[in-house]
């Protein structure tokens, strides 16, 4: 190989690897956007027994703190925990709580479904669909997000039941 050819080859190889790398990073970032896990066994077990263990990233830390402080009146039900579970889950939520645009403008509401982010993401869902008995309201993620229990909220896995 002469020098010019080698130079052209190197440049091509470099360009291809940069493109592949950037694509991978972008793909990873988009997957991260849709994959929201609730990675604490106790949070999963305690909170997940009555409803999907909602991704902690969907509310800011102050909201989670207020939820943890009012479990005796948790959206109309008693969801009190023993002191050890409350401490561990509270600590976990504090660290995993959302920041940035997902929780921007969340205000005083303790409902994920009232955050501007949630409303934006679900704009196309007709209001009648939420009221179907098969859906059971906006808090029942898994009714439509079939892979929500695995933390996967990818749009491709959404099936709105009749």
């Amino acid at each position: 190989m002469n020098n010019t050819k080698r130079w052209a080859f190197d440049l091509t190889a470099w360009t291809v690897s940069v493109i592949v790398g950037l694509t991978l990073v972008a793909h990873e970032a988009m997957a991260g956007e849709k994959r929201m896990t609730a990675g604490n066994a106790r949070y999963q077990a305690e909170c997940g027994s009555c409803h999907l263990a909602y991704p902690p990233q969907l509310l800011p830390a102050p909201a989670w703190r207020r939820i943890m402080a009012s479990l005796d009146k948790h959206f109309g039900a008693d969801a009190t925990l023993d002191a050890s579970a409350a401490a561990e889950i509270g600590y976990f939520l504090d660290g995993a709580a959302g920041t940035g645009k997902r929780v921007a403008g969340a205000g005083d509401s303790l409902r994920i479904t009232r955050t501007p982010w949630f409303e934006r993401e679900h704009e196309e869902v007709p209001s009648a669909a939420w009221r179907r008995p098969s859906v059971g309201g906006p808090g029942n993620c898994a009714a439509c997000h079939t892979t929500a229990p695995q933390g996967d909220f990818d749009e491709h896995n959404v099936r709105i039941p009749r």
């Binding site: 409803h51 109309g76 039900a77 808090g139 009714a143």
Partner: protein, 137 residues
């Protein structure tokens, strides 16, 4: 060194006993409720599955009964009245995990009695309910 090993062994034994007392059978939990009733009053006329069944299916001043979420048949899967999440069957005959952990049973009685009756259930009421659930085949 010797001392350290002894301490580890004592710790392991303590852990074993602590966990051994947590695991239970529905019949043992029923016995615990009987002990609790007897501790409160000298007279104990036994638990009644029929009384438990009626309690389970009745509203007690609030919006919900036990059956609102667990359905009128505790041997089948229930559904949370608010969140619509599936609830595994409550009757031990249909779900071997039920009433095998005293702390878990107490946790749910604490929460759910408060939701249904706006107060704690008495040991007599818990015993009646458990007697009923054990009788469901």
């Amino acid at each position: 060194m010797q001392h350290e090993r002894l301490r580890v062994r004592a710790g392991a034994a303590l852990f074993f006993f602590a966990t051994a007392t947590l695991a239970a059978t529905p019949a043992e939990l029923l016995k615990d409720y009987e002990t609790a009733v007897r501790a409160q009053s000298a007279r104990f006329a036994g638990f009644s599955a029929e009384r438990g069944r009626e309690f389970f299916n009745s509203r007690h001043g609030g919006e919900w009964s036990c059956a609102s979420c667990h359905t009128g048949n505790p041997a089948v899967q229930g559904k949370h009245a608010k969140t619509a999440k599936a609830i595994a069957p409550l009757a031990p005959a249909a779900n071997a995990e039920r009433f095998t952990d005293a702390a878990a049973a107490e946790k749910w009685f604490r929460r759910n009695c408060n939701d249904v009756l706006s107060r704690a259930c008495t040991a007599q009421e818990k015993g009646d309910i458990l007697q009923y659930l054990i009788s469901v085949k």
